[in-house]
Amino acid sequence: MLLIPCPFCGKREETEFHHGGEAHIERPKDPDALSDEAWAEYLFMRTNPKGVFLERWVHLAGCRRWFNMARNTATNEILGSYKIGEKPPKGAR
C-alpha cells in the first residue's frame, strides 16, 4: 500500500485517496475546433508508461483536494507530489 504525500496534509495511507488517471490532460478550450480524432484523443487516449508517470490523485477521505503526483509505475517510487498548476518535480519531467 502506497504512502502518498498529499501536498496539503502530508503523508497519508493510500486508502484515503482516489486515483484520477493521467495528469496534464487539459480540456480543449474550443471543443468545436477539434476534429473527431483530436476529440477522441482527449477523451480516451492515455499513456501507460513503464517508468515515471504523472498522475492525478484526490485526497477523498482527507482534505478532498486534487493534486498531481510523479510515480514510477514499475517500482511505485514516488518522486514527489505537486499542486494543480505547479510544475512536476525535477527528474520527472
Binding site: L3, E13, R27, N76
Partner: protein, 1001 residues
C-alpha cells in the same frame, strides 16, 4: 505403546505435563511443548495423509512452515480449521484432528487407485482432457472436486472475534532467530521503536533445533537473556506466534498474530490480530528452508528433511525412526547424523553425492564410527506406507546415471538434505529481485525497492557467528537510518565458526532407468508434481517458470512450493538446456507467505458493522409502520407499506391510487443535496448541466441533466436558485457522493478561476414529499405565511416560510406527475412534522408510499431514472430529451454529440411497451425481438428497462430502449421467455396525463 518413539530425556518439552489428543479418532498423548507433528511421531504414527492427485500415503516431512504433506482438519463444527500443517499446531489438551483427502482413512484410501493410472494423468492433464466438449465440464467438475479435495471449511459463522492494529515503527524485524534477535537488541539499545515478529511461540528460530553455543554457553541461554533485555525497552514490541505474511510498497507489512496457544479458540481474547505496520526500516531475518533431494519415490512416509529429523530429536525429544539413513549433498546434514547418533538413534549410514567429503563435520561424523557411502545416490525405496529399505548405487562420471552393483540398506527413515534456500519471499513480495548464487546453487535477495535489508540465513549467511554479526550491524544501521544514532559499547556475542565444504548441486538424481520410468521423483509433494511432469512441460513447449508453474501446478498448493519450487525451476532449466537456473528465474513470490484467516481481514467489520447503514430522520416511524426496505446505496428506504393481508402488488396498487386520487407522502430525505455558492455559481452550472442557468430567477427551480465528456448521461436532478449566488442542487440518491466529487474535480482541476464552493447538505434536511389532489388542502392547515394557491405558488417554484411552526423550504417539484409539495425542514424536525402530517392527513386518506410506488408513478409519466433507463451508453437524444440541450453555450459532453457513434441512425431510443394480453408484467432486462419465432438466437433490437403493473392504467406497462424505436410506434414486438414469446406494442413512453396538466393543479 504410548509414545514409543519418545526419548526418556532431552528436548524442550515438559514431560510432567501430558496432553491428551485424538488423531483420526484414536486417543493419543503428547507433552506440553509438542506440536501435533512431534506428538504423532512420538506415538509412532507414520502415515498422516494422502497426496492430492495420486492419493499416495504420506508422512511428516518437515518440522515447520515448509511441511507439504501433513495437512489436517482441526476440530469440527463452527471452529473447524482446514488444511492446517501439523508441524505448526501447538498441541493442546483435547485437540482433535483428522487426515484430509482420504476416505475411509490414510492407511486405506479408495482413491489410491489413481496411483495405478498415473500414466493417464500427466502434466496439463486437466487442460488436455477436459477441454472438450465444453458441456462435459459439469460432469468432470463433480468428479475432480470430489477426488482432489483438501479440507472442509466450516458451514457455520465463525464464533471468534478478530482485531486489527495499525502501527508505525522505526524498525520492523521479521524473524526472531539469532540474526533477528541480534538486530532487535542493537536497534532497541539505540532507543528505536522496534517490532520484532516471529511465527513461533518461542524466540530462537533455528537455535531451537540445534545444540550449539553462544559465548561458550548454550545458545538458548543467550536467547533468554536477549528476551529479558528487550522486555526492558518500552519501545520494543515482541510479537510471538506472528507471521509476517506480506510485505508491500513503501515499507508496509501485514502481520497475523495468533493470540492463544489453542489455535482454534480465542477463548476470552480475540483469536487473531491483523497488524498493519508501516516501518521506517525493515530487517528481514526470515532464515532459510532446507530443500529435499529429489530421488525416485522420495515421497514415501519416512523420507524427511535432515533438519526436521534433527529438530524432532533436539527440540521435542522424539526419535524419527529406529534406523536412519542421512542422504546429503552438503556438510550441514552431518549435524543431523551426529545429533541423532548421540541421541541414541541408529544411523544406518550417510549417503553423500560428493566424493570423499573432508570438511570438519564429515570428519567428526566418521570419527563416531558412522558409515559413509560417498559419490552415491538412492535409486529406489521399498515400502509403500513406510520405508523398509532403500537401494543405493554409485553415481557415474557425469552424475547423470548410476553404475556398479546396487546395495540394499535396511532403514525406516531417509533424512535428506539438498542444501538451504534463503527465505526471500518477503523481499520478493515488495518488488525485490532474486539473484542466483551459482556456486552455492541458491537464490539470494538482489536489489530491493524498499528501505529494507535481508540478513542472516535469509541473506545466505549460514554460520551462527556471521548471523549474529550481521544482526547487530543491521539493527544498528536500521535504527540510525531511522534517525536514532545512540550507540552502545556492549560486547558482541561470539559463536564458533565451523568451516563447511561446498555442496554438490545435482537437482534430480538418477536411478537405474530414465526419470519417470522407475518410481516418481516428486518436486511438489502437495500437488503431486514430479520431475517427469516438468520435463513434459518443457517438451510441450513451456519455456518460462511462470507458464510451467501454471501448466503443471508446481508450487500452487497451500504450501506455495516452499520446498519444491527451486528444484523445480532447476529441473526446467536442465530440460530446456539452460545452464544456469538463474536464467529461467524463480517465480515471483506473492503474499501471503502462509495462509491468513479471512476473518482477520474482516476484523470487527462483520455482521451489522459490515457496511454503515444510513437512516433518514423518519426511519423509526417507517420501521414501526411495518414497511419493507429497499437498500439504495447505504441508505435504507421504505419500499412499500403492506397492510395486514396485503401482497406487495396490493400495497403498491393502493399507494399508487392514493397518490393520484387523494394525498400520499414520501420520505425523500435521501435525495442528494448539494449547496452551491459563489459569484460564478450560475456560470459553473452552465458548464456542468446541458441547459442554461444564468437567467433562472431567484426562487425558481429547473430540471438539469449532467453528461460525461463522452456525451453519456451521468446524473439528473432539480436545482433551485435560492439567491443570486446561491443554488441548491439535488442528485439521485445513489449518486450523491459521486456528483459532489465530480463538481469538485472540475472546479479544482479545470476551472480553478471560478469562485464557487460546494457542500453536501443531504443530511441537514428532512424532505417530506406530499403529492395528490388533496396535498394542498393538507398543507394549508400547517402554514399561514406561505400562499399555496396555484397562482401564487406555481409549479417549479420555491417558497420559504414555516410549516407546523418549523422553518421550512417548500419546492413545487414533482416526480409523480401530480401536484406536489416537497417540504424541507431541518433534519431534527423531520419526524415531528411527518407524524403531524400523518395525523392531520387521516381525513384526506393520507397514504405513505415507498420507492416502488414512486417508480411506478414516475414510469407512468415516462420520467427516467438514471441507472435504470440509462446504463452509461445512453445519450439525451436517445431518450428524446433534445429539448434540454442548449444550443447557445458549451457544456460537458456536448462535443461528443458529433461523434460517429452518437450520430448512428440505429441507436436505441426510449419507448413505451404495452403487453398485448394486458396481464403480463414483462421482466426488466428482457430482450426484445421483432420476429415471433421459436428459433434461437434471434436478432435483438432492444431491452426492457422498467416494467410494472399500473393500478391507475389498470394494466401492465413498460419502458424500453429499442433500436430506432421512435419510428416503430404501433409496431408489435416480442419478448422471448423460456417457454413463449410475449407480444407487446410499442407506444409513447408517456402513459398518464401526457399534457402534464395535473402538475400545475
Amino acid at each position: 505403546m504410548a509414545q514409543k518413539n519418545r526419548l526418556t530425556e532431552g528436548g524442550r518439552i515438559d514431560r510432567s505435563k501430558p496432553v491428551n489428543f485424538t488423531f483420526n479418532g484414536h486417543p493419543l498423548q503428547g507433552y506440553a511443548g509438542d506440536t501435533l507433528a512431534s506428538a504423532l511421531l512420538a506415538n509412532g504414527i507414520r502415515v498422516v495423509a494422502r497426496s492430492f492427485k495420486y492419493h499416495r500415503p504420506r508422512g511428516i516431512m518437515a518440522a515447520g512452515v515448509e511441511e507439504a504433506n501433513a495437512l489436517v482438519q482441526l476440530e469440527t463444527g463452527d471452529r473447524t480449521l482446514a488444511n492446517q500443517q501439523a508441524t505448526r499446531i501447538e498441541l493442546y489438551e483435547g485437540l482433535s484432528a483428522t487426515s484430509i483427502n482420504c476416505w475411509p482413512g490414510p492407511n486405506f484410501d479408495l482413491m489410491a487407485i489413481n496411483s495405478w493410472f498415473h500414466r493417464l494423468m500427466p502434466a496439463g492433464f486437466y487442460y488436455k482432457t477436459f477441454m472438450w466438449p465444453v458441456a462435459g465440464w459439469k460432469f468432470y467438475e463433480h468428479f475432480i472436486r470430489r477426488a482432489a479435495g483438501l479440507g472442509i471449511s466450516p458451514r457455520e459463522a465463525d464464533p471468534d472475534q478478530y482485531d486489527q492494529m495499525n502501527v508505525h515503527c522505526d524498525v520492523l524485524i521479521v524473524g526472531g532467530g539469532p540474526a533477528g534477535l541480534a538486530a532487535a537488541l542493537a536497534a532497541g539499545r539505540s532507543g528505536a521503536r522496534v517490532i520484532l515478529a516471529d511465527e513461533q511461540a518461542q524466540l530462537g528460530g533455528q537455535l531451537l533445533n540445534e545444540r550449539c553455543e553462544i559465548n561458550g554457553k548454550p545458545a538458548l541461554d543467550w536467547v533468554t537473556t536477549a528476551e529479558t533485555e528487550l522486555a526492558d525497552y518500552p519501545d520494543v514490541t515482541i510479537l510471538r506466534r506472528t507471521t509476517t505474511f506480506g510485505y508491500y510498497d513503501h515499507n508496509f507489512a501485514g502481520l497475523l498474530e495468533t493470540r492463544t496457544a489453542k489455535l482454534t479458540d480465542g477463548g476470552e481474547h480475540t483469536r487473531q490480530r491483523l497488524w498493519h505496520v508501516r516501518a521506517k526500516r525493515v530487517v528481514l531475518a526470515t532464515g532459510a528452508l532446507e530443500r529435499p533431494l529429489i530421488f525416485s519415490d522420495n515421497d514415501r512416509p519416512g523420507v524427511m528433511l535432515a533438519n526436521a529429523a534433527r529438530s524432532y530429536l533436539t527440540r521435542y525429544g522424539v526419535k524419527v525412526g529406529s534406523r536412519v539413513v542421512v542422504f546429503t549433498n552438503n556438510d550441514d546434514a552431518y549435524r543431523t547424523a551426529i545429533a541423532l547418533f548421540e541421541g541414541g538413534v541408529k544411523i544406518a549410514c550417510i549417503i553423500d553425492t560428493r566424493s570423499a567429503p573432508d570438511g570438519e563435520l564429515p570428519t567428526a561424523a566418521l570419527a563416531l564410527g558412522i558409515e559413509l557411502v560417498d559419490n552415491s545416490t538412492v535409486t529406489g525405496v521399498t515400502g509403500g506406507r513406510g520405508i523398509k529399505s532403500i537401494e543405493v548405487m554409485s553415481l557415474n562420471a557425469n552424475a547423470d546415471g548410476v553404475t556398479g552393483v546396487p546395495r540394499m540398506i535396511d532403514c525406516d527413515v531417509v533424512a535428506s538434505s539438498g542444501g538451504w534456500n534463503p527465505v526471500i519471499h518477503l523481499h520478493s513480495h515488495s518488488g525485490g529481485k532474486a539473484k542466483f548464487d551459482e556456486a552455492r546453487g541458491l537464490f539470494i535477495a538482489g536489489e530491493t525497492l524498499q528501505a529494507s535489508v535481508c540478513i542472516g540465513a535469509a541473506n545466505g549467511e549460514f554460520q551462527l557467528d556471521g548471523c549474529l554479526k550481521q544482526g547487530f550491524q543491521a539493527g544498528k544501521k536500521a535504527a540510525s537510518l531511522a534517525g536514532l544514532k545512540k550507540s552502545s559499547r556492549r560486547k558482541l556475542p561470539v559463536a564458533e565458526t565451523i568451516d563447511e565444504t561446498p555442496a554438490r548441486i545435482l537437482w534430480a538424481l538418477p536411478t537405474t532407468k530414465p526419470i519417470g520410468e522407475r518410481g516418481k521423483h516428486f518436486l511438489d509433494l502437495q500437488h503431486d508434481v514430479t520431475v517427469a511432469d516438468v520435463q513434459l512441460a518443457a517438451r510441450d513447449g513451456y519455456k518460462t517458470d511462470e507458464h510451467t508453474k501454471r501448466y503443471t501446478t508446481l508450487g500452487m498448493a497451500t504450501d506455495q512450493g516452499k520446498t519444491g519450487n527451486i528444484p523445480g525451476m532447476a529441473v526446467l532449466a536442465q530440460a530446456l538446456g539452460v545452464e544456469n537456473p538463474g536464467d529461467v528465474g524463480t517465480t515471483t513470490f506473492r503474499p501471503p507467505y502462509t495462509p491468513v484467516t479471512l476473518g482477520a481481514f474482516a476484523g470487527r467489520n462483520v455482521g451489522v458493522l459490515t457496511d454503515p447503514v444510513r437512516m433518514t430522520p423518519m426511519h423509526h416511524w417507517h420501521e414501526l409502520s411495518g414497511c419493507t426496505w429497499e437498500d439504495v446505496g447505504q441508505w435504507k428506504r421504505p419500499w412499500y407499506y403492506p397492510q395486514t393481508g396485503e401482497t406487495m402488488q396490493d400495497a403498491v396498487n393502493r399507494e399508487c391510487l392514493a397518490a393520484r386520487n387523494a394525498v400520499a407522502i414520501l420520505d425523500a430525505s435521501t435525495l442528494g443535496k448539494i449547496d452551491i455558492q459563489g459569484p460564478d455559481a450560475a456560470e459553473f452550472l452552465n458548464r456542468i448541466y446541458t441547459n442554461a442557468w444564468s437567467k433562472l430567477a431567484v426562487g425558481k427551480c429547473r430540471y438539469g441533466l449532467m453528461l460525461r465528456e463522452d456525451g453519456m448521461i451521468f446524473d439528473d436532478g432539480v436545482t433551485t436558485r435560492i439567491g443570486e449566488n446561491h443554488f441548491l442542487m439535488t442528485t439521485t440518491t445513489g449518486n450523491a457522493a459521486t456528483v459532489l466529487g465530480w463538481l469538485e474535480e472540475w472546479l479544482q482541476t479545470e476551472w480553478p478561476d471560478l469562485k464557487v464552493y460546494c457542500n453536501s447538505v443531504t443530511e441537514a434536511w428532512a424532505t417530506l414529499s406530499l403529492c395528490g389532489p388533496r396535498a394542498r388542502d393538507l398543507l394549508t392547515e400547517f402554514t399561514d405565511d406561505i400562499d399555496l394557491s396555484a397562482e401564487a405558488f406555481p409549479f417549479m417554484a420555491l417558497r420559504e416560510g414555516t410549516v407546523g411552526g418549523i422553518a421550512a423550504r417548500i419546492f413545487r417539484i414533482s416526480f409523480t406527475g401530480e401536484s406536489s409539495f416537497e417540504v424541507n425542514v431541518p433534519a431534527s424536525y423531520g419526524l415531528a412534522l411527518w407524524t403531524q402530517l400523518m395525523n392531520a392527513g387521516e381525513k384526506y386518506g393520507i397514504t405513505p408510499y415507498g420507492t416502488e410506488t414512486m417508480h411506478v408513478l414516475r414510469a407512468e409519466k415516462g420520467y427516467i431514472i438514471v441507472g435504470q433507463e440509462t446504463d452509461g451508453t445512453v445519450m439525451p437524444q436517445d431518450l428524446g430529451m433534445d429539448w434540454i440541450l442548449s444550443k447557445t453555450k458549451d457544456f460537458l459532453g456536448r462535443r461528443s454529440f458529433a461523434r460517429n457513434d452518437s450520430m448512428r441512425a440505429d441507436r436505441k431510443q426510449l419507448v413505451g411497451l404495452l403487453p398485448l394480453d394486458k396481464q403480463t408484467v414483462l421482466e426488466e432486462g428482457g430482450q426484445i425481438v421483432a420476429e415471433n419465432s421459436t428459433a434461437r438466437p434471434l436478432p435483438m433490437i432492444g431491452h426492457v428497462t422498467s416494467s410494472y403493473f399500473s393500478a391507475n392504467l389498470e394494466r401492465p406497462f413498460a419502458l424500453a430502449l429499442v433500436t430506432d424505436g421512435r419510428s416503430r410506434m404501433g409496431e408489435q414486438v416480442y419478448i422471448p421467455m423460456k417457454d413463449r414469446n410475449i407480444p407487446a406494442e410499442i407506444t409513447s413512453p408517456v402513459f398518464f396525463d401526457p399534457e402534464g396538466e395535473r402538475l400545475n393543479g
